[in-house]
């Protein structure tokens, strides 16, 4: 996850899963806090739902990985890289369950 293009791929994979569901007003355009805010507001998504929480956490984790303030070899960096993959699977389960 320490490569720029890999992080884009991770974001793409999460968005593809979320947007498998046909949202009433707008697709989710990105995993920045502001893009998530817009998507939740447009589609009237409750911020306390498990799906909303998972997407928010995934966005924060990817943002952390992109922010080079942390050494990329730290344990926390490795932990968050693995967390993104786990979050993607959790989001997929939430989306499948909500059909």
């Amino acid at each position: 996850m320490n490569d720029f293009n890999n992080r884009i791929d991770a974001q793409r994979n999460i968005l593809r899963i979320v947007n498998k569901r046909h949202w009433r007003v707008e697709e989710l355009s990105g995993l920045s806090n502001k893009a998530i805010d817009r998507w939740m507001l447009a589609n009237q998504i409750d911020a306390t739902t498990r799906l909303a929480e998972l997407i928010r956490v995934a966005g924060r984790a990817l943002f952390f990985l992109a922010n080079k303030s942390q050494e990329q070899v730290t344990d926390e960096y490795k932990h968050r890289s693995q967390a993104v993959v786990a979050l993607m699977y959790e989001i997929e389960i939430e989306i499948e369950c909500s059909y």
């Binding site: 720029f4 293009n5 884009i8 791929d9 974001q11 793409r12 968005l15 593809r16 947007n19 498998k20 707008e26 697709e27 989710l28 355009s29 990105g30 920045s32 806090n33 502001k34 893009a35 998530i36 805010d37 817009r38 998507w39 943002f63 952390f64 922010n67 080079k68 303030s69 942390q70 050494e71």
Partner: protein, 213 residues
């Protein structure tokens, strides 16, 4: 805890539009909870010294386009780092951004369910490709429109299509602007071949430029 704060990017070039934000850099001694990572790019002193010695595009960007806003002791950390090491990876970086473009182009042609994200990624790939190319060939341009400012090597492109890409980037990062329509997505998809041709030409140019350095 010690920290230096800088502004960088468009505001330092005097390029201010209703859409532009102010890029802020915080240089810290480690994790510093005072800085909201939504507002600041946060780098440690050690990491910045490292990217300076790597001669990365970001080091050159900060070296050429940053202004000190706050220093705890009147020192200017970035200026004291001196000139970054020579940038020697333009061809490799351009190839990386070409791959990024190709991934999004394929997704759009396959009618992805996340077109705004892919359009935004194309904007990012085109911009970064052009910036790395410009830096590698000695005339650095870090602006959002770097691809349109490469002289004879500029991307010749419909301004409407470029505007769609730019809007997608704002939607993806800042969550603002009018949503992209299906027709707009289709117009960009039709123009992907032009971008690809431009990138392929510049990949050859930048590789030969590096060979003769």
């Amino acid at each position: 805890m010690m920290a230096h704060i800088y502004a960088f990017g468009s505001v330092c070039r005097g390029e201010v539009t209703p859409e532009s934000d102010v890029d802020l850099l915080a240089v810290t001694q480690g994790i510093d909870q005072r800085f909201n990572s939504d507002l600041y790019s946060v780098y440690s002193y050690a990491r910045l010294a490292e990217i300076w010695s790597e001669g990365s595009p970001f080091a050159w960007h900060l070296s050429l386009e940053s202004r000190l806003l706050y220093s705890p002791d009147n020192s200017d950390f970035l200026r004291e780092l001196g000139v970054p090491a020579a940038y020697t990876s333009a061809a490799r970086d351009c190839q990386k951004f070409f791959a990024l473009f190709a991934g999004s182009a394929n997704a759009l042609r396959a009618r992805t369910n996340s077109p705004v994200f892919e359009l935004s990624t194309i904007f990012l790939a085109v911009r970064n490709f052009a910036t790395c190319y410009s830096l590698g060939t000695g005339l650095p341009d870090f602006s959002r429109h770097s691809a349109l400012r490469l002289g004879a090597n500029s991307l010749v492109f419909s301004s409407d299509v470029f505007g769609v890409l730019e809007r997608a980037r704002l939607l993806c990062t800042r969550g603002v602007g009018a949503m992209i329509s299906q027709d707009e997505t289709a117009s960009v998809t039709l123009a992907l071949g032009e971008i690809e041709g431009w990138m392929r030409t510049l990949l050859i140019t930048v590789a030969s430029h590096e060979r003769f350095q």
